[in-house]
Point group: C2
Chain length 366, copies 2
């Protein structure tokens, strides 16, 4: 009964791109995953720009009375687009690594955009930042030493610092301008940098990790932009290996892991690589984030060999940590119920990502 | 610490609309909820149409080589828009009640649009149809008699018919043209009508319910379009009262209940009304549906006084029902884990919808 009507569910199988998989061999990738693998924006994105003329769409005034409406268009994935109404452009700049844009939207608060892709909006950043930080940190007892890769806006730091057990937080962000822009326009995120436990390193994360002492960290959180441009190598095996090396036995990684509706190939690839690298457990979770493609974002949660980690049942419940619920500001999206619920996966994802079904070394739920 | 940066989270408080709340009094509603309450499309929607010139946006050819790109724009809520690339228009028509559009999208399969609002796409309809059907039916033992309100595409029928205990399914759809269009273009949904247990009634659901025998149904599923136009009265108290009357003691209602990110006022209103009407339990659940506003849709689950219903812990697990997993086609989105996870709610929703926090007659999770 799986007729033509259901074909929308699968990723397009057309192979129209090539990418290195990190071990020197070339591999064709389907168009639906191009965004996440190509080093240049995919050609398909240009069709959106014809709708919205670059980053913005401006309506044609039909009468003198009509006010000028400006939309930001997010050319995030082939075949669709999400547009936000722009009240005011607050900042446009170009760093050594990427184009940076900040605008005030009419209904999502301020929005940070890197290379044309929405990184966060004030309305829904809570979902992403709280989940990417607390999914790993609530899964292990008393995390003390944490590394954040990327995350230059400071939002993840804000969340990590809720944990009173944490003594030392390293953050390695490649682009200093992201930090500066966040400090100017996103005080509710950059407040994370004010914590005295935070140590900011501007530079390349793979280099940083290569020089990190073996077994230094209890948790590593990879809050990268999409693996296009500066974040390209952050989904490849050598990178995961350096992370595993920097983690203590039974230490945990939480890595941004795309949309279950759009990027099942990429999820499959990432899980396969992590299965080889992390000998403890490998899990997939997701959360609702309206301004991200298809309205969801996934997280890959891995642990190294050592004390077992049951990601689905957090041992370090945030509700029991003194002061954590209201540190800096109240939790908005995360609680222990949301934590466990995030690991519930629809059958279509399990079927398309075979690595989710055949698991010997993981605690993946069936 | 709740400074200006967090204001995007709240609904706009500007009162720029009025609506009857069903008991004769007029009540101001905030602009963010206008879509869901006004009887005419809100003025704000028009600003999207300037971006996309009505239902469609067409790119300007920049060279003779450039192929014509057409996007469908979903003017679903103020301040943002979601666009799907159109491969081919399959049908455009106007029934007695609404405008009907079917197009082939480039990445979401075929799409059904009523009065400019996306009702379903082949790619993600599984999430909505499976959740709205199985959340109620798996929460009670052996459902036998079911009423579907709306749902003229047949998708909910397809899901209800997975339950071998069900003996009789009434469906009351106001617009016969929706049924006809679905039979022509969406065979994987309209297959639901082929089940011999299904009895189709074309007409007004409030009228139908008024004449239904008291206590006839084990479950009522309201799969309405947004409460604009023909579905206006389906969010008001008299309607819920006729449903409660038609349900047996301990019978269940599942009602489409908007987005937790966008329509907290409306959710608050619906829960308050249902609290007064349903003396068993009142719960809120949600699911990821990329083509719906903000990528999520909520469900209101209520039970009448009688045998208690614990919606979060389904007693009638679909995995144990003979043949249910593959009836007509495999389940794609729903399983028992997804069922329980759907009731996990973020703290911001609990804070904004006070009815979710102060619950004496319900089994709402804390």
């Amino acid at each position: 009964m799986e007729g033509g009507a259901g074909r929308g569910l699968e990723c397009q199988k057309t192979m129209d791109g090539k990418a290195s998989n990190g071990n020197g061999s070339e591999k064709a990738i389907p168009s639906c995953c191009l965004k996440a693998r190509a080093s240049a924006p995919e050609a398909e994105a240009k069709c959106h720009s014809t709708v919205v003329s670059g980053w913005f769409s401006e309506s044609q005034s039909r009468s003198e009375k009509a006010s000028k409406k400006v939309y930001f268009n997010n050319p995030m994935w082939p075949g669709e687009a999400h547009s936000l109404k722009v009240e005011k452009i607050l900042y446009k700049g170009k760093s050594e690594f990427q184009e940076i844009l900040v605008f005030e939207s009419s209904t999502y608060g301020k929005v940070l955009v890197l290379d044309g892709i929405i990184q966060l909006s004030e309305k829904d950043e809570c979902a992403y930042q709280e989940m990417i930080a607390h999914l790993p940190l609530c899964s292990i007892p008393s995390p003390k030493t944490v590394l954040v890769v990327g995350g230059g806006d400071g939002g993840v730091l804000r969340e990590v610092s809720r944990h009173p057990s944490v003594e030392h937080i390293d953050i390695c962000e490649i682009d200093k301008m992201v930090v500066d822009v966040s400090k100017k326009f996103f005080p509710q995120l950059s407040v994370g940098f004010q914590d005295p436990r935070v140590h900011l390193h501007i530079g390349d994360a793979t280099e940083f990790l290569r020089h990190a002492p073996k077994g230094k960290y209890d948790a590593v959180i990879v809050d990268s932009s999409d693996p296009v441009g500066p974040a390209q190598e952050l989904v490849e095996k050598p990178f995961f290996e350096t992370i595993a090396r920097a983690l203590r036995p039974g230490g945990v990684l939480c890595n941004m892991a795309e949309s279950m509706w759009l990027h099942t190939h990429l999820i499959q690839d990432m899980i396969s690589v992590c299965r080889e690298t992390f000998k403890g457990s490998v899990n997939y979770a997701w959360a609702s984030v309206p301004t991200y493609p298809s309205g969801v974002i996934g997280f890959l949660l891995c642990s190294t060999e050592g004390p077992p980690v049951d990601f689905k049942n957090p041992v370090n419940s945030i509700e029991k940590l003194e002061g954590a619920l209201k540190h800096k500001r109240e939790l908005r999206f995360y609680n222990s119920e949301m934590h466990s619920a995030a690991f519930a996966l629809p059958p279509f994802l399990r079927r398309e990502v075979s690595a989710l079904c055949h698991s010997s070394t993981s605690t993946l739920p069936r």
